[in-house]
Symmetry: C2
Subunit: 424 residues, 2 copies
């Protein structure tokens, strides 16, 4: 039992630390897969497609011209050349968007624009550059193969074809495709909603003066931003009542309104009168150690809120209070869980193996996540700052986490290490 006085992992049979993988699984299990919701195309960027998208139209929807030019019967211009041009009367003008397309009579040509429908009877387009661009008659100085410059209906996408499969992350090209196929909305996975709680009597809002002994609140702001960057929505509650019953009432109210996860940082140490700890302990949330550094003290569970109308309670993850511990814990446990809950195909950060620039010691039995700066060109990573978990300045200048396995006690200069890319 640690000095924190918290409930330890019951599933671990006492106070044995969990591995990173065990706690990651425990946090992920708190979040259920989010449901589908329809959003306008303009709001679909970055979202995960909830269902296969099937086209109701073919792409192109009709045979159309790939060029500005003249729609002809290929056989009728088969002998055309610069030396021996063919002249045809121009029957009609077919701009893009014309819906009443006249049949091409034998021995004539229609003037046609890019994207305009191929008239019945025509089987080739002569580009305007191979003609005299006439409007009454047109003189054609090159032959055209049957099918030349004709885009056939369905050659990109057939009607009924699956355009995009569920789980696709949507960006401009996918949204453009959906629009081209006539979808005004897309079914995407709902974003999990996260309530971020910031507590601590030493905390002062940025923008106000500090007294000796006070620090600026940063974890709540930082975690809310990180939640949104992960694709979820965040609500930051900086001032929660310091009465356990009122605190639980706030949580119950938020849970009923649809909170998928409550995220706290700090407030679960040995300090007396910690409202977060007091409200959570013994009510479904378990605390204990994870064999990692930074971020050893963790908690997770479903908080029972009897009588609140939230049958299964509300999912809670408690992160340690040091800023670096807090954000590293978020990266390791919460971000992948949130992204998995919304069906993201790559919930984890990209990991690459590079050579360590320098040497690092690492405590036995604890997986380390050190802050690094990658030199992608050289294929190396250097530590920035130290292992100390309060160095947020170094964290802010890092672009990756150096992941050192629990059993490794030293990595020598030039040895390979895995790094998690934070800005990808």
């Amino acid at each position: 039992m640690s000095a924190s006085g918290s409930t330890s992992w019951s599933s671990a049979g006492g106070s044995a630390p969990r591995t990173v993988a065990e706690h990651a699984k425990a946090v992920a299990s708190l979040l259920v897969a989010t449901a589908s919701e329809d959003v306008p195309l303009s709001e679909a960027s970055g979202r995960v497609l909830a269902r296969d998208l099937t086209s109701v139209v073919a792409l192109p929807p009709f045979d159309n011209s790939a060029m500005d030019g003249y729609a002809v019967r290929a056989a009728e211009v088969a002998g055309a050349s610069e030396a021996s041009p063919v002249t045809l009367p121009v029957g009609a003008d077919i701009p893009a968007g014309r819906t009443d397309v006249p049949t091409l009579e034998p021995g004539t040509a229609h003037r046609i624009m890019t994207g305009a429908p191929i008239p019945h009877g025509a089987d080739a387009i002569v580009p305007v550059e191979r003609t005299d661009a006439g409007t009454e008659t047109v003189t054609i100085s090159a032959a055209a193969d049957a099918g030349a410059h004709v885009r056939h209906s369905g050659e990109d996408t057939a009607a009924g074809q699956v355009l995009l499969t569920a789980g696709t992350v949507l960006a401009a090209p996918q949204i453009g495709l959906a629009a081209a196929c006539g979808s005004a909305t897309l079914a995407v996975r709902r974003r999990p909603h996260v309530l971020v709680l910031s507590t601590g009597s030493e905390l002062v809002a940025p923008g106000t003066p500090l007294e000796h002994g006070q620090i600026y609140e940063s974890n709540g702001t930082m975690l809310a931003v990180a939640v949104r960057e992960a694709g979820a929505t965040a609500e930051l509650l900086s001032f929660v009542p310091d009465d356990v019953d009122r605190f639980r009432a706030v949580l119950a109210e938020k849970a009923v309104a649809g909170v998928d996860l409550v995220l706290t940082s700090g407030g679960v140490s040995a300090g007396a009168y910690e409202v977060v700890k007091d409200a959570l302990t013994g009510n479904g949330v378990e605390f204990g150690k994870v064999a990692m550094q930074p971020g050893g003290p963790q908690g997770a569970g479903r908080l029972r809120l009897d009588g609140a109308g939230v049958e299964d309670g509300v999912a809670v993850a408690t992160l340690p209070g040091n800023p670096v511990s807090s954000l590293v814990s978020f990266e390791v446990f919460v971000r992948p869980a949130l992204r998995a809950a919304m069906g993201h195909p790559s919930p984890e950060r990209p990991v690459v193996s590079v050579r360590l620039d320098g040497a690092l010691g690492s405590p036995a039995g604890r997986r380390q996540f050190r802050r690094g700066v990658l030199d992608a060109r050289a294929g190396t990573v250097a530590e920035i700052g130290t292992a100390a978990s309060h160095l947020i300045g170094a964290l802010a200048r890092a672009d990756c986490l150096i992941d050192i396995p629990a059993e490794v006690e030293r990595v020598e200069d030039g040895e390979p290490v895995d790094v998690w890319l934070l800005d990808a």
Copy 2:
């Protein structure tokens, strides 16, 4: 002079095609560097820092305890051990946030929590685990070196130190650092505002039925999303008046209201009555060919709007109308220009060299951007779809562009090619 009848590049001395680099430079030169604006921390994610951020406080702001335990004079516990513990009276309780910290009288200890200020007179912290956790007296069973478990003021960041340099892209760690240093807002580069125009009589809004000859509007929606993904803001005008004077009046109104770029797609072909072309030609916007595929026909310039109160006119880039041409042109010319205008340190897409899976022919004299699917593990890329510029289905399943230089006419299977990573 092409068949499009448009003004050709005057700077190129006629109708000679521009290189991709020349046109990219022309488009980038239309956009001026955006100014600074202050935003709340919660809205700073993804933005580019406009000025160096200097801390007004040190981090930590004061010497504080790294552990829950007891603040002592190291010399007074120098002989402590399990066998020979030292017992001291406990003077005070110092939780985090206590601002009236009492001096440590010789021969006493103060109980102290993580993050609480070190009392005057103390020079070491004994962790609670090395004590009996007493509140009246405390029995200490381990010595402590001077400075043990003390975090010194400024050891992360000194007051007055530059925390983040101008040009930094902000994310959760940087925003957390700004909060920790007391900033409630951050000075970031303003997002360029882009007016996306969608015109074309063949276009129908998604969600409504198609007649033969009509297609769904997708370029405007797609480009507006792409603009936002690039970090700018977009306003989509799907229905612009088809009268040149009214069209120019709309542009003048938007320009006065603060449009940094007008982006059109299509509407500048040989088709008669093209309002975009008619409104732009001869008024500062030049049209011509760029030696690339897809995306050959391009236009750019500052549109003069005499009497509109917009002295320098409004920046315009006209993209071709085929969806693939349009988005590839955006990637090649517009996205880097927008990101450079807001000071982004990496305006370009990341480019990697991989081996081509398959062989590709490419027309001489035109730089090709083919759609590809990367196999990062194998270090290979395969083409998806063909060179045809209307295959938006293939574009939506691509994750990169294969960049084939203008002078290359064939790339053999296994040869290296550069690819632009679209989803990074």
